[in-house]
């Protein structure tokens, strides 16, 4: 017995989606003013990490190219956006060891063009890193990209006239708000959903499953792997830019390997190859990172005084990661997606089971 299919007019669907989006952003801009700063900060981080993790998942999960360079691309994006949005006066004050080089010291762009520029620059860096690196497979690619990310960080520490070296940048205008960060998250989600529904998305998944067979079927490995790598780098770059303009200060040491690890953990927990899994897990991990801060406070348990241990929550995260990998080796969602159809099918199954029990 087939459930009767209700036909929804496509125009109605589009109108519903647009309406929901408008409401969503109205809520966010209202919340920006009315929610407390702590909540707003965490929600901002959620939006940013959703976008960045989706980018990582495109490369590592959907295309199967295990890259560990995400922190490097975030650094590129963060510095690009920061240098373009800071006012010349602040730049002059911040760069007190060596002055900032010419074109950068006198420009100040709006936030949107700066973020777009961050996407372009990190995309170019992504291509320069990716084009040679994607010739490697598996572990070798991971090590190569990790090396490139470290190179980017070391270079940033040393080109003082552009990056202010180890001192980093301070006084970055706090442009990032809920609308920006969640707008970014939604754009990333939209790009991923669209891409995976096209023949290009299928080709990427084919590369993940069997590179040799994909190439024999006419899939150009160089183009498709670079596509995944560059788009991934662009998402990381914009995410990095939003992050910089959220916390208003960046320095090269922010973009060490633990940052890549955090994003990777979000992707693995949610399921490499699942968009919905990534969204859920990126948000959940970001919130948990903050919630677990209580673990690092000194406290008294059963009369035993335990001093605050910085880094305690990372221990908890490691244990959580192990438990998840034991019970859900493919992450919570594997490579499946949450969809209304699935829920409907599940509900139909439950109903069928109930009626057969009664009958």
């Amino acid at each position: 017995m087939m459930a009767q299919q209700r036909v929804v007019h496509p125009a109605l669907k589009i109108a519903a989606v647009c309406g929901a989006l408008v409401l969503f952003f109205l809520l966010l801009s209202w919340g920006q003013e009315h929610w407390d700063a702590y909540t707003v900060r965490i929600l901002n981080l959620c939006g940013i990490y959703i976008g960045i993790t989706l980018g990582l998942n495109l490369c590592n999960g959907f295309t199967g190219q295990f890259s560990l360079g995400i922190a490097g691309f975030m650094a590129v994006g963060a510095y690009t956006t920061a240098l373009l949005t800071m006012s010349p006066a602040i730049k002059q004050a911040v760069f007190f060891i060596e002055p900032l080089i010419y074109p950068l010291n006198s420009v100040q762009w709006g936030f949107l063009p700066s973020l777009l520029m961050a996407a372009v620059v990190s995309g170019i860096v992504g291509f320069l890193v990716g084009a040679p690196a994607i010739r490697f497979r598996g572990d070798y690619l991971a090590i190569t990209t990790l090396g490139f990310a470290e190179i980017i960080r070391v270079v940033f520490t040393n080109i003082v006239p552009i990056t202010n070296g180890a001192l980093g940048l301070k006084g970055i205008p706090p442009h990032t708000n809920l609308v920006w960060s969640w707008g970014f998250a939604l754009v990333c989600i939209a790009v991923m959903v669209r891409l995976m529904r096209t023949t290009y998305g299928r080709a990427l998944k084919a590369i993940r499953d069997d590179e040799v067979a994909a190439e024999a079927m006419g899939v150009n490995l160089f183009f498709h792997k670079n596509l995944a790598f560059v788009v991934s780098a662009m998402m990381a770059g914009v995410g990095g830019g939003l992050l910089g303009n959220l916390i208003t200060t960046i320095d090269p040491n922010m973009f060490r390997f633990p940052l890549t690890f955090t994003v990777l953990m979000m992707a693995v927990l949610g399921g490499l190859g699942s968009i919905t899994g990534t969204v859920i897990s990126a948000a959940a991990v970001t919130v948990a990172m903050e919630a677990f801060r209580v673990l690092e406070e000194p406290r008294v348990i059963l009369g035993l005084a335990i001093p605050g241990v910085p880094g305690m929550r990372m221990v908890v995260f490691s244990v959580a990661l192990m438990i998840v990998i034991l019970f859900y080796p493919k992450g919570f969602m594997g490579d499946r997606e949450f969809s209304l159809d699935r829920v409907k099918r599940f509900a139909a199954g439950v109903r069928r089971a109930n009626t057969s029990k009664q009958g």
Binding site: V191, R194, L195, T198, T199, Y200, R202, A203, K205, A206, R208, D209, D210, V212, A213, A214, E215, A216, M217, G218, V219, N220, L221, L227, G273, D335
Partner: protein, 263 residues
């Protein structure tokens, strides 16, 4: 492909050396258009190496591979697929986590028209192309007999159907020449029977030229019109099934030096 006199596939003194090992030595192969051609030989004879050269996985140490007269040796596998050579693999290499339908759709990817931007923005050309692709893939699955399992994961199919799916996926690239690497390996007699019918059938329906590697003598002798026999990288015989069955060098290669052909 206007001139029917040009052979579909030619190997001219193709040699492949891996360090000190000569896997294929001076192979000459001439597969006429529309032929069903066999490539046989004992284990380690160099058959799969020949396939890897023709499909671009390996670049031959010397010699030329010509597809309808144009040299394709040394091109990358995806370029060769564009030129019209498709293959299956000795050890099944499906996209295991994709559905049966998606496997075939990946085969259609290389004939795409819509570019990436059109695809991302869901512009009309992309949408009509996706619909077209879905229809073509569904039709292909129907012709190959997999329409009922099109939404299964490829890894969930039984072995015989996985082999068929590999053929369907290869056909999706719209090849002129199809290379089948031991398609009957591991099949029971009934499945082999079906497969033989399928191979001759698709040759006619898709006007293909088929080059076949096979161990199962029944298959090769039953459907191939001509064949080449390799042993230790050397061509030891070439001819029709009847000629090959009577050839002493072939019998010697397969059964060993002491064996004598009776009757």
């Amino acid at each position: 492909m206007a001139d029917t006199n040009i052979p579909a596939l030619v190997c001219e003194s193709v040699t492949m050396r891996f360090g000190g090992l000569t896997a294929v030595n001076g192979l000459n192969l001439r597969v006429p258009q529309g032929a069903l051609y066999g490539l046989i030989g004992p284990n380690g004879a160099g058959k799969t190496t020949v396939f890897n050269i023709v499909s671009g996985v390996l670049c031959p140490s010397s010699g030329a591979v010509k597809l309808f007269g144009a040299d394709v040796a040394g091109l990358t596998p995806d370029r060769i697929a564009h030129r019209g050579i498709a293959r299956t693999f000795q050890n099944i290499r499906l996209f295991r986590n994709l559905t049966v339908l998606d496997n075939v759709l990946v085969g259609l990817h290389l004939r795409r028209e819509a570019n990436l931007a059109e695809a991302l923005l869901a512009l009309p050309r992309h949408r009509s192309e996706e619909a077209q692709m879905a229809a073509t893939a569904a039709q292909l699955l129907e012709e190959i007999g997999l329409q009922d399992v099109s939404h299964y994961r490829a890894s969930a199919l039984p072995y015989g159907q996985q082999r068929r799916l590999e053929i369907a996926r290869a056909l999706a690239t719209k090849p002129a020449v199809l290379l089948l690497d031991e398609p009957a390996a591991g099949m029971n007699p009934a499945e082999t029977e079906d497969l033989m019918r399928l191979i001759t059938d698709i040759r006619d329906r898709f006007s293909l030229t088929i080059l076949l590697i096979e161990h199962e003598m029944k298959v090769v002798m039953g459907i191939c019109e001509r064949m080449t026999v390799l042993d230790h990288g050397e061509t030891i015989a070439e001819g029709t099934p009847e000629e090959i069955q009577r050839n002493e060098r072939v019998i010697k290669a397969y059964l060993g030096g002491g064996a004598v052909a009776r009757n």
